[in-house]
Amino acid sequence: MQDPTELERLRELFLRAPESRVTSILAIALSTCLLLTVLYLVRHRRLREEYTPIWVTLALIVTVISLRLDLLRALTAAIGAWTPSSTLFFLGELFILWICLNYSIRLSRHTTQLKNLAQETAILRARLEELTDASETRATGAGR
């Protein structure tokens, strides 16, 4: 079994390891791509404005973290993780879980709304037929 002091020293080493510049540039490029994609989708009416804040916020957070890696390192130390990348994975997983649950809730609501609308359509169509037939019958009766 490893000596706990040795393990702690190893963790310190991981935490202080300098990130490469390429990582930062890649992260900024990805967040910029995400932002541009969101804007493109909104412009082409494929994404509604009310669904964009989450993605714009995500892109901004990724940009800030890319520029201030010390923040990520502080967070890593605070949550007891070993490397900033594992913190990112952890946060990413939490984000995906949250967004899936959020969309499941929205989907459930929309399913109920859609069902109610379809039922309303069927009832109104039947009512319309009843009224049309009744007025036709009345018109035929008056014509005689």
């Binding site: 379809a118 069927a122 039947a126």
Partner: protein, 243 residues
């Protein structure tokens, strides 16, 4: 064939609701059988997005047709009928399946407790008396399990999944709510009605072997059925006692 003119709804009517999905072959026989019913009634067929001539054949035989724009599921189709009946201010409603499983000869017996003011909801039960009706072991197991749960809550029903039921207008408002399942209404719905103080009775009936429900409790679906119903019962109990 020319379309039979639709009848205007009248308050206090007796409506027979029949949800149907691709039942053009069997529905006409059911409608003809219903024609022998002595009590004045109006048949409302809820076409659940059928791809065949279900709606046309029902209309040709004089039924009012509620045509859903796409398939919503048995429960949602049935609920469409409840909503229509509620809007039409119907006071007596019978629901039955479109596959010929239910014999209209039992309807007078089914509606009697409602007409006499003894019950709000009457379930046509295959198991209230041994009618010789047999179903798969998983279905039987699920039925017994939920029957026991209902009994714990004070509701004594032997056939909560029966599609042959009669009700009065007071049930319609409750059944038009968003809690009503889109797939298959079961003991969860009955328990909700029971909690709201509606009087539920059973009436022994015999049923012919059906088509629709034979696949409901097969394979993985049985497990989903038990899971969904457990969740629905829990949610219903939570809604009744929010603390």
């Amino acid at each position: 064939m020319s379309r039979t003119p639709a009848t205007e709804p009248q308050a206090g009517e007796f409506l027979v609701l029949i949800p149907a999905f691709n039942e053009a072959a069997r529905l006409p026989d059911v409608l003809r059988e219903l024609g022998t019913l002595e009590q004045p009634h109006r048949v409302v067929v809820i076409d659940d997005g059928s791809r065949d001539k279900t709606a046309e054949s029902a209309r040709d035989l004089g039924a009012t047709v509620l045509r859903l724009p796409f398939n919503l599921g048995y429960g949602a189709a049935l609920q469409t009928g409840y909503k229509y009946a509620h809007a039409s201010k119907a006071t007596l409603i019978v629901q039955m399946d479109a596959d010929g499983q239910h014999d209209p000869a039992f309807i007078p017996r089914l509606i009697a407790p409602i007409r006499e003011g003894r019950a709000d909801l009457v379930i046509g039960s295959r198991f209230a008396r041994d009618s010789g009706y047999r179903m798969g072991w998983l279905h039987t197991l699920g039925r017994l399990l939920f029957q026991r749960i209902a009994r714990l809550a004070g509701l004594h029903v032997t056939d909560p999944t029966s599609g042959l039921q009669a009700m009065n207008g007071s049930v319609l408002e409750l059944y038009s709510g968003d809690f009503f399942p889109s797939d298959y209404p079961d003991v969860d719905v009955l328990l909700e009605a029971f909690r709201r103080g509606l009087r539920i009775e059973e009436c022994a009936v015999e049923m012919r072997p059906g088509q629709r429900r034979s696949t409901l409790h097969g394979g993985l679906r049985s497990f989903y059925y038990v899971y969904r119903l457990t969740l629905a019962l829990w949610a219903g109990a939570r809604a009744a006692n929010p603390r």
